[in-house]
């Protein structure tokens, strides 16, 4: 790691002030991606501002038809939350699929969504459930938030405070794990929101998480795996790397979507 100065912020306002004062600073949430990135010398911040202990960024609130989760809430807390399991079981199940026991004990929702790794799990739930990203400055709809691989609508100095998820009528997440890293080679979050169907694909898209709109239209007409017959994700939009070609990822995205639908319809 390159040297940096470690600072701990006690509030969102303090973290914002520290970021404003130090333009080369970076925020540290759970660190499960960021610390390996620092170790590999892929980042060289002047300051690392630890926001992991800010109380106002933690916790789960269920209110009416929404679940709001603080940005620094850890994956293990979401997975184990009786409230999340009752309100949006697919979201708790997704949290349990991230990384491993140790990673889930440190990694956070806000860290994952701010980083927007194209193979991360949470972005598919945020997009699939039509969630709202609540920041230190504004509220951002999921459809406007994700702007490509590792790219988001967040501006310099803007901090995610929480994510508000509307409870769907029914939803499921299905993921093909990379056998070594556990990241999604392809993952599909399918939600019947009541107002329509949303299908968000992670792990496969060369521009990060995306909505598979042809599948949404087909499932809105008939909510069954058979409704997806003949549909395929465009492999021209998929990632190709040493683990899998674009054609295989496109295929996996289709299979995961069908399985997610089957999980819902039983």
């Amino acid at each position: 790691m390159y040297a940096f100065e470690y600072l701990r912020a006690g509030s969102v306002a303090e973290a914002g002030a520290l970021l404003a004062k130090n333009p080369e600073a970076k925020l540290l949430a759970g660190g499960q991606t960021f610390i390996p990135t620092l170790k590999a010398r892929l980042a060289q911040p002047s300051h690392v501002i630890d926001i992991g202990r800010i109380a106002e960024l933690r916790g789960i609130t269920v209110s009416g038809a929404t679940v709001t989760i603080g940005a620094m809430t850890r994956h293990a807390e979401v997975a184990a939350s009786a409230e999340v399991r009752a309100a949006i079981p697919a979201l708790a199940a997704l949290a349990l699929e991230i990384g491993d026991q140790q990673v889930r004990n440190r990694g956070t929702l806000g860290g994952s969504v701010a980083n927007n790794d194209p193979a991360a799990d949470y972005p598919s739930a945020v997009l699939g459930l039509n969630a709202t990203v609540i920041t230190s400055r504004r509220e951002i709809a999921a459809d406007d938030y994700f702007q490509g691989m590792f790219s988001t609508a967040l501006e310099d100095g803007e901090i995610i405070k929480a994510i508000r998820f509307p409870c769907p009528k029914r939803a499921a997440y299905c993921k093909f794990h990379h056998p070594a890293s556990g990241y999604a080679m392809a993952g599909a979050f399918v939600a019947d929101t009541g107002a329509g169907v949303r299908v968000a694909i992670t792990g496969a898209g060369a521009s990060g998480v995306f909505r598979w709109k042809a599948a949404e239209t087909a499932l809105a007409k008939s909510f069954s795996a058979a409704a997806l017959d003949g549909l395929a994700v465009d492999e021209g939009t998929c990632i190709a790397d040493l683990h899998a070609g674009a054609d295989y990822r496109a295929h996996l995205a289709g299979v995961m979507t069908r399985r997610a639908v089957q999980k819902i319809t039983g």
Binding site: M1, Y2, A3, F4, E5, Y6, R8, L28, G31, Q32, I35, P36, L38, K39, V48, D50, G52, A76, G99, D100, Q101, Q102, V103, N105, R106, A180, S181, G182
Partner: protein, 155 residues
């Protein structure tokens, strides 16, 4: 430098650390608790697993400064004097190791599994150990050991 204090295996420690010091390096190099291993250093192998405020975490994926105020248990803190922790006892009885390099992490992760679920199935154990790699055994005896530990902890 950042001044930090924490409790490790029941002992209070105060020290100054550089921002970039990893928790595992502080534990091994400064505190000389070398039972916690560094296998991959890329947060995949789990050899560096410790308990931090009741949760199993990978100490190679944490800054030492993040442990300020924490209560930590490492593999050295599990046994009570000469009496092994039931998970250590079970790994011994069931031959849950060969070379032993991954064992501290396997045992710490297993303690975490049994804390959350005192009666884990084989599948629960496999899922619970997905963050730990063993390059010798093929895991069969490790799974047996965790099941045996569950029995010992109930007795």
């Amino acid at each position: 430098m950042t001044k930090i204090s924490f409790t490790i295996n029941g002992k209070q420690v105060s020290t100054d650390v550089e921002g970039r010091t990893l928790l595992v390096d502080l534990i091994r190099d400064e505190l000389r608790l070398t039972g916690t291993h560094v296998g991959c250093d890329t947060s995949q192998c789990g050899c560096c697993t410790i308990e931090l405020n009741g949760d199993m975490v990978k100490s190679c994926a944490m800054l030492a400064a993040q442990a300020d105020g924490a209560t930590i248990t490492t593999i050295e803190g599990l046994a009570k004097g000469d009496v092994l922790h039931p998970v250590q006892q079970a790994f011994t009885e069931c031959h849950g190791l060969q070379c032993g390099f991954c064992t501290p992490g396997m045992i710490m992760a297993s303690v975490g599994i049994l804390k959350a679920n005192p009666n884990p199935s084989d599948d629960d154990i496999v899922k619970g150990l997905e963050g730990n790699l063993c390059r010798c055994t093929g895991y069969v005896n490790i799974i047996k050991s965790v099941k045996r530990a569950a029995e010992l902890m109930k007795a």
